[in-house]
């Protein structure tokens, strides 16, 4: 079943075409990777799907509904959650309170919210950070807190923007494993934007490649890693990494 459809989306910032007629279909339970060099338009695509930006052209359909005019909170209530590329913590809240904010979305009362928050913390494996203030944490920890508060809203579709940036190779492996586990447990559909090839390739069933706002390739991880246009787009910066992976 199709849960998300991006249909012919164009987004311009002044003269800059950040996204040009992008199409994307995502089925329930799929994990789709979105890759592309810096400035390719990946985060812009997430901003449009979650309602923070309005497209100049095209429509976004989520669970068969046109959400173009919807505000982010309503899209979230529909079952879409997102981890931001640049973390957006709540500095004056503890990790526990942060996750409870998320879990209130689908809870009827405080005790239900607390239960859901505890579960989210456990799933992400940061129960030990529970009583720490967000402002005391480092970036990798904050990324995990974002993941926990996102899944506390009990989403059906989760968008993750560069969660593996700055992790060591072992940590990347752990993160892939963790996300797979969470996805299984919650029956999620995942959209992941990532620079770290090892991460996207390890996680995604299908990958789309953006380059200066154009979708230049789409397919399985294997076919993408051999696609000459992709290799060209990445030449210089990501080439070595891709070779390493394949």
């Amino acid at each position: 079943m199709k849960v998300l459809e991006v249909r012919d989306i164009t987004k311009k910032f002044g003269a800059l075409v950040a996204l040009n007629s992008i199409n994307l279909n995502v089925d329930e339970g799929e994990t789709v990777g979105i890759i592309g060099p810096n400035g390719a338009g990946k985060t812009t695509l997430f901003n449009i799907i979650t309602g923070f930006l309005k497209p100049d052209k095209g429509t976004v359909w989520i669970f068969g509904r046109n959400v173009n005019s919807w505000r982010p909170h309503k899209i979230a209530s529909l079952g879409v959650s997102r981890c931001f590329q640049i973390v957006k913590p709540f500095p004056s809240l503890t990790v526990w309170e942060t996750v409870v904010v998320g879990s209130y979305l689908k809870s009827r009362d405080a005790s239900e919210a607390h239960e859901a928050a505890l579960e989210a913390l456990k799933l992400v494996g940061i129960t030990d950070l529970k009583d720490r203030l967000s402002r005391e944490l480092n970036i990798p920890q904050l990324k995990l807190v974002e993941l926990a508060r996102s899944i506390a809203t009990r989403p059906k579709i989760l968008l993750i923007d560069e969660i593996a940036a700055g992790l060591t190779p072992t940590e990347v492996d752990k993160m892939v494993k963790k996300l797979k586990e969470i996805k299984e447990r919650l029956g999620l559909t995942l959209l992941v934007v990532e620079h770290v090839m090892k991460f996207v390739m390890g996680l995604s069933e299908r990958i789309i490649v953006l380059h200066y706002g154009e979708k230049i390739a789409e397919g399985s991880p294997e076919s993408i890693s051999k696609d000459p246009r992709v290799i060209e787009a990445y030449l210089g910066t990501k080439w070595a990494e891709m070779r390493e992976w394949s």
Binding site: R71, H73, K74, A76, S81, K88, F90, S92, T153
Partner: protein, 318 residues
Amino acid sequence: MRFWQLASFGGFLLLLPLILGLNDYYIFLTTLILLYTVIVMAWYFIGGLAGQLDLGAGAYHGLGAVVTGYLMIYYNVSGWIGLVLGGLAAMGVAFIVGFPSFRFGLKEVWYALASLGLVLILQKIFLLWTDVAGPLERYIPFREFDPLYMRARAKWFYYYITLGLLLITFYLAHRAKRGKLGLYLVSIRDEEEAAEMLGIDTRRYKLVALLTYSFITAVTGGIYASMVGFYHPILFDGWIGIQTATIAIVGGLGHFWGPPLTSVILLSIAEYLRINLGGTIPGLHQVIFGAILITAILFKPAGIGPYLESLIEKVRKR
């Protein structure tokens, strides 16, 4: 232990008019201090939790005074009903102003200036609207003691009304702080986009905070009008909002106990200075009050809230 502390504090507040020797003037001053402290506590919703630097308290205070007073004078409506209707009127105005403000993401100094502008606009409107207010005071009929009409000569009557309002406001603020509303508002204050992505209708919750604050602030205006026995557009006073925000900042933005305690302490000092110095050198008390504020901000930029709160914790544990 905790029970006895609470009981003795409650007893103190209840018996305060007696302690003041039933002196109307002192009770009047005490009630004023408590009324402004109610506003500081109501500001906790919009300023402390939602993080909007609202300076418009005078608008809602004045509105409550005019509505309550007008109904008492011209329709012989009980002040109690006037308080509620004044509160609702303030909520209406707050909605008209707040909806577009939050719709277009008005924040920080821009929001502060807009809210202060509201006070001036309402003052002008009621100066010109001579059917309701105008440049002359409107006097509320005198009653020796008429609790149903909410009017009495003795000031202790208003002291207890204000005390009740203060307790209700504390209760509501405390409940918000502990529950979903407070958590939602703080998350909006800290990082609005993240809050939105967690499914929070940020505009709606900011409005909830603004409407709660405006209602309570209007009630203080209604009590004030009945206590002094008249109303006048001068009650749309920009200074009230500035005083409220200043006290909340000095007391510790976002802190629960710091601002109201600071309010009681600072306003008591201010009144003391006014009574004792205001007569000799006019304005000297304001200079000293200003100096105290500047000193507090310079030495404790985060406010004295954290210190007051740890002090309370110590007393509690003893």
